[in-house]
């Protein structure tokens, strides 16, 4: 028998020792942190704020340089704000005013997108686009668009008659009297693009910090101190790609204030049975019926229609409204005949980061040297992202005098998709990894192997929405009815997150309210 006092003494010593060991381990873990006035501060050369398509593109371009770069994202994953809810269009570039940043970066982004989609293995189709004119009286508007497109440097534009347009797209409305055809217009997977750029940036050394919300930015010597909900961070340079919050970030450091007004757009997504109704992206010429909505196939074979445009004061107000959804449907029917509206499988809304001057705010902030804005990125922001990324990263690298890395690898392989493979190849893949033979999401034919890949790869998914955006689990016609429980189990198994803590997206979106 061990005397009680001795036992207690041993236990006390053990606990003390354990605490000390744990603290030492923690200290080792945070070896890149430096104690400063009592708080741990993370130090970087560059901090990019925002993990949307713009921030991720900038991060990837910055990863070319010998710079210690970190991207801060307030949610649990990249591509979870405006970048996840938009038209998924790569605009040709005839829309924006000639000479504007929008025009320049759109045309350049469009030009870069094809090559980038091969380097980074994401879905992009140059399907061409048509702007429809329904009234002879609006013809001058269409001609003006053509001229502007030419001035912006958009190649191969031409005006078609109504019949010529219908010959290309037999389901176009009989009302169409003319159309502007832009063969360079395209469609892209916005999740695929953003996630690919983020993964490639991370593979090339950029650190990603999620659930990290920037609360203040102040001068810190030559550089910046960024206060976050996870503690302070310092950086020589800050890039503001905070989307609808870009004004908040900018206004922390600059006296030349601006305001981002979230401009909400509602969309309806139709089942793949309707995906073939049109093969090009169909816009409407702004006319007496208002701005109009687009109808487009998606790279995944669905049909998308939208958006509306409603200015809101709330930067999180992504709620659709009955009026707007109905408006989308009514307007879309004007472009395309026989739209099967009963085939709507989901609706959603996104917030454009609109600023009153309606142009991108790009570059170093004049009264805050070392602070770079990539702000007011509304449409054509997705199209422009590759070009904006290269431009901003170039500015930062020049300022920093940073050299390029010799071992930078700009290519990335996406998640293996067995579905579209020929039968023999698919069979071989299943033989190699049986998890590819186990279908979890029936509607989109997504296997367990793909879901595991989405979770375990670079910047792997930590939420159901993260998995969905990487492999399309739950994006089909049953909208995750069947596959939700199984996907939750796989996510829990692969990450060790208990089932009752599995979230749809950010913390607070737990799927379950109680354990077993």
């Amino acid at each position: 028998m061990v005397p009680r006092a001795v036992f207690h003494g041993t236990l006390f010593l053990y606990i003390l020792l354990k605490i000390l060991i744990d603290r030492t381990a923690k200290k080792r873990y945070t070896d890149n942190r430096k104690r400063k006035s009592g708080v741990t501060v993370l130090k970087y050369d560059v901090v990019v704020i925002g993990g949307g398509v713009t921030g991720c593109s900038i991060a990837r371009e910055l990863s070319r340089y010998q710079l210690k770069t970190c991207l801060l994202e307030k949610t649990e994953d990249v591509c979870s704000g405006t970048s996840k809810a938009n038209s998924a269009i790569v605009h040709a570039g005839y829309d924006a005013a000639t000479g504007s940043q929008m025009a320049r970066f759109n045309v350049e982004g469009n030009r870069l997108m094809g090559e980038l989609s091969k380097e980074l293995d994401f879905d992009f189709i140059r399907n061409g686009s048509l702007v429809l004119c329904f009234d002879e009286a609006d013809r001058p508007g269409l001609d003006a668009l053509l001229e502007r497109g030419k001035a912006n440097g958009v190649p191969d534009l031409q005006i078609l008659s109504g019949d010529e347009a219908r010959a290309l797209e037999p389901n176009l409305s009989d009302e169409v009297v003319a159309a502007l055809y832009a063969p360079t217009g395209g469609i892209v997977c916005p999740f695929g693009l953003t996630i690919a750029m983020a993964e490639n940036a991370a593979d090339n050394g950029v650190e990603f910090r999620f659930l990290t919300e920037v609360q203040n930015i102040t001068r810190d010597g030559e550089g910046w101190r960024i206060d976050t909900n996870q503690g302070p961070v310092t950086a020589r340079y800050v890039v503001n790609a905070a989307g609808v919050y870009a004004d908040v970030m900018h206004n922390f450091v600059s006296e030349q204030k601006f305001t981002i007004v979230p401009r909400k757009g509602d969309y309806c997504l139709l089942d793949k049975e309707a995906g073939g109704l049109v093969s090009r992206t169909i816009f409407q010429l702004p006319g007496k019926m208002g701005k109009g909505v687009l109808v487009t196939p998606t790279v995944h074979g669905n049909l998308l229609m939208g958006p509306t445009a409603t200015d809101l004061p709330d930067k999180e107000a992504t709620a659709t409204t009955a009026e707007e959804l109905s408006d989308v449907q009514t307007k879309a029917q004007r472009s395309v005949k026989n739209l099967p509206l009963r085939a709507v499988i989901t609706s959603f809304s996104g917030l454009r980061a609109h600023e009153e001057h309606h142009d991108f705010i790009l570059g170093e902030c004049p009264d805050a040297p070392g602070f770079f804005d990539a702000a007011a990125i509304e449409s054509p922001g997705l199209s422009s992202a590759p070009a904006i990324g290269a431009y901003i990263a170039g500015l930062v690298a020049d300022k920093a005098g940073a050299a390029q890395k010799s071992d930078w690898n700009g290519t990335r392989k996406g998640i293996v998709r067995p579905g579209p493979l020929p039968k023999e190849q698919r069979a071989a893949l299943i033989k190699e990894n049986p998890a590819y033979g186990s279908i979890v999401c029936r509607c989109e034919g997504v296997s367990e192997g793909e879901i595991v890949d989405a979770i375990t790869r670079t910047l792997g998914a930590r939420s159901l929405d993260g998995i969905k955006r990487r492999v399309r689990q739950g994006m089909g016609r049953c909208q995750a009815g069947f596959c939700t429980p199984r996907t939750m189990e796989i996510l829990s198994r692969e990450t060790g997150i208990p089932m009752e803590k599995i979230c749809k997206n950010a913390p607070g979106s737990e799927m379950l309210t109680g354990e077993k």
Binding site: C268, L269, E316, T318, A319, T320, T321, A322, E324, L325, S326, R342, V344, I345, T346, S347, F348, K423, R426, A427, I430, K431, P434, A435, G437, S438, I439, R442, C443, G445, R477, C478, Q479, A480, G481, F482, T484, P485, E489, M499, E500, C503, K504, N505, A506, P507, G508, S509, E510, M511, L512, T513, G514, E515, K516
Partner: protein, 420 residues
Amino acid sequence: MQQHDIVIVGGGPAGLAAAVAARKAGVQDILILERDGHLGGILNQCIHNGFGLHTFKEELTGPEYAARFIEQAMAENIPCKLNTMVMDISPDKVVTAMNREDGLFEIKARAVVLCMGCRERPRGALNIPGYRPAGIYSAGTAQRLMNIEGFSVGKEVVILGSGNIGLIMARRMTLEGAKVKVVAELMPYSGGLKRNIVQCLDDYGIPLKLSHTVVKIDGKERVTGITLAQVGPDRKPIPGTEEYYRCDTLLLSVGLLPENELTREAGIAMNRVTGGPDVSDSLETSLPGVFACGNVLHVHDLVDYVSEEAALAGRNAAAYVQAGERAAANPVPLTAKDGVRYTVPQTLDTANMNDKVVVRFRVGDVYKDRYVSVYFDGERVLHRKKNVLAPGEMEQVVLTRQQVEKYPELRQITVCTEVE
């Protein structure tokens, strides 16, 4: 390539009954392909009782009802492949399937019975506006998480739609300690069985609000509340009737859709009203040798009728294998009219029909004291008074060979409702 006489796609109640009946009719070489890890389908998560009153003359739970058929299939030594997804059925009846063990494989089938069941209509199909937070479940998904996985999916619940799964879940969640605040139904009548409204709502004091719908969902991360509004005869919300309910969960029970992806891709003729394939009285689809039964054919209320229908499909698949293809000698179309939304089957081969053919149908509205009538061309051959007809309750009439033989020139069979 493997070959089998009959391949049954789906091992739920329809697939099991079809397999057992086909075996009893003398076909040895049968294979069931099931995507889940167990036979029995959705019955496994239906742990409430009320199954089997017609088939077994007793009240069973879903798993018990399934077990009866699984035992029969086991006794008949009918092979099945579990965790196996059918990817494709070709017009020449090559079934492509996939699982972990066998990888991707093909089976040449002489006959196929489609038993894929149905799925739930999702939120998107209703265009319910608002945010897209966690806590919005189709009733069946919630049922699976609760009854199979053993988790709680919500504490304060609003249910939209009075389909049977929603009604059953109202009771189930109440029993598990959740507060079910209200069940809202867009239509002026319930889509579920009367007995479920009594046993699952009335007995627990859960209000059912007819002609109501969800007009807003609040909550950015998890549902925090929903707004209901009354709808007018045009099913559009009436301004000023909004009522807010605080809740963390919205369950949807707003309709079931037959799962016919494989059927459509095989080029089989589909029916717009049922969402299932068009079938003859032998439950054969437009592709000879391919039969359909259960919820993939049309959504049923009672599993007993699924089993009965599936047994017929199984016997006919067996006959097809044994006797070979037999073109319909005299297919007479059945037409649904005046309040009857559809019939199954859609054609009746008067030359080769069984002694009795059950014609199942649903009405499009609630009718009191109406007649169900059947016309052979212009002549009324059946006229039966019903106290209540409701869309939530499947109806049937039985046509006999004896009756049909009296009309050798028959061109058209019409099933309708009549006021008198």
